[in-house]
Symmetry: C2
Subunit: 141 residues, 2 copies
């Protein structure tokens, strides 16, 4: 038993060599430096990811879809998406924090619209992407 | 005590009236029906939200940003984003499942690129949105 342990410890172990894990021709120093310069700043990456995270919820997508054709009050949004007004209000507050919806106050009334054309275009593009593509991954070619 | 309970039960309770919670002029039946017809199908909403959820992670945003200017092997992506190749591979598998990246096999080498122009445009639009806007919510007007 002890001999077996000794053999196990002393036997050369085939550790993977990280430098050998990728055989592709690599970027040279100049192109690596150019790519590094072009990367988004860390703070932008964080806000971008947080924006996508807030969009990554079916209820919030439905609310944005409901107001994509023009501003609506909370009642009408709740009616269109089949949710309570308090649940819609909660989601609208979150969407507003990330500047994905914009409130317009008219006296005691508040109407909500999609914040700007970027967000409308973003929803349209993502919708086109998911509707054009089959949902199962294809094998690597 | 029992009298008190009796009084509490018999006293008219001021329940909120949902119809009174929103004083805005509401959509009429025809416009409500038109908006309902224009809503995205439930299955599309789910995939859209899942796509945004996968994008809602700083590491995955950084990987997509790294390959936004053209395909790269895992080594180069790992080098650009400062992560291990195994961590990058794990994220690439997830991104590929949601068809956000596309692998191209050349012999034993695999290069990854952003899946299509929709995703590139989506990243560009979201980046423009978050860079144009102050990050604190503005008060309702």
């Amino acid at each position: 038993m002890s001999e077996c342990s000794y053999i196990q410890v002393s036997r050369p172990v085939a550790l993977p060599d990280p430098s050998a894990s990728c055989e592709a021709p690599h970027l040279d120093a100049a192109r690596t430096a150019a790519r590094l310069r072009a990367l988004l700043p860390a703070a932008t990456v964080e806000v971008l990811a947080e924006t996508f995270r807030v969009l990554g919820d079916p209820t919030r997508v439905r609310i944005l879809d409901a107001i994509a054709d023009g501003e609506l009050c909370v009642c009408d949004i709740a009616s269109l998406v089949g949710m309570s007004e308090s649940a819609v209000s909660h989601q609208l507050r979150l969407l507003r924090t990330m500047r994905l919806v914009r409130p317009r106050r008219a006296g005691r009334q508040v109407f909500y619209s999609v914040d700007d054309h970027h967000i409308l275009e973003l929803l349209r593009l993502a919708g086109t992407h998911v509707q054009e593509k089959p949902q199962m991954p294809e094998p690597a070619r």
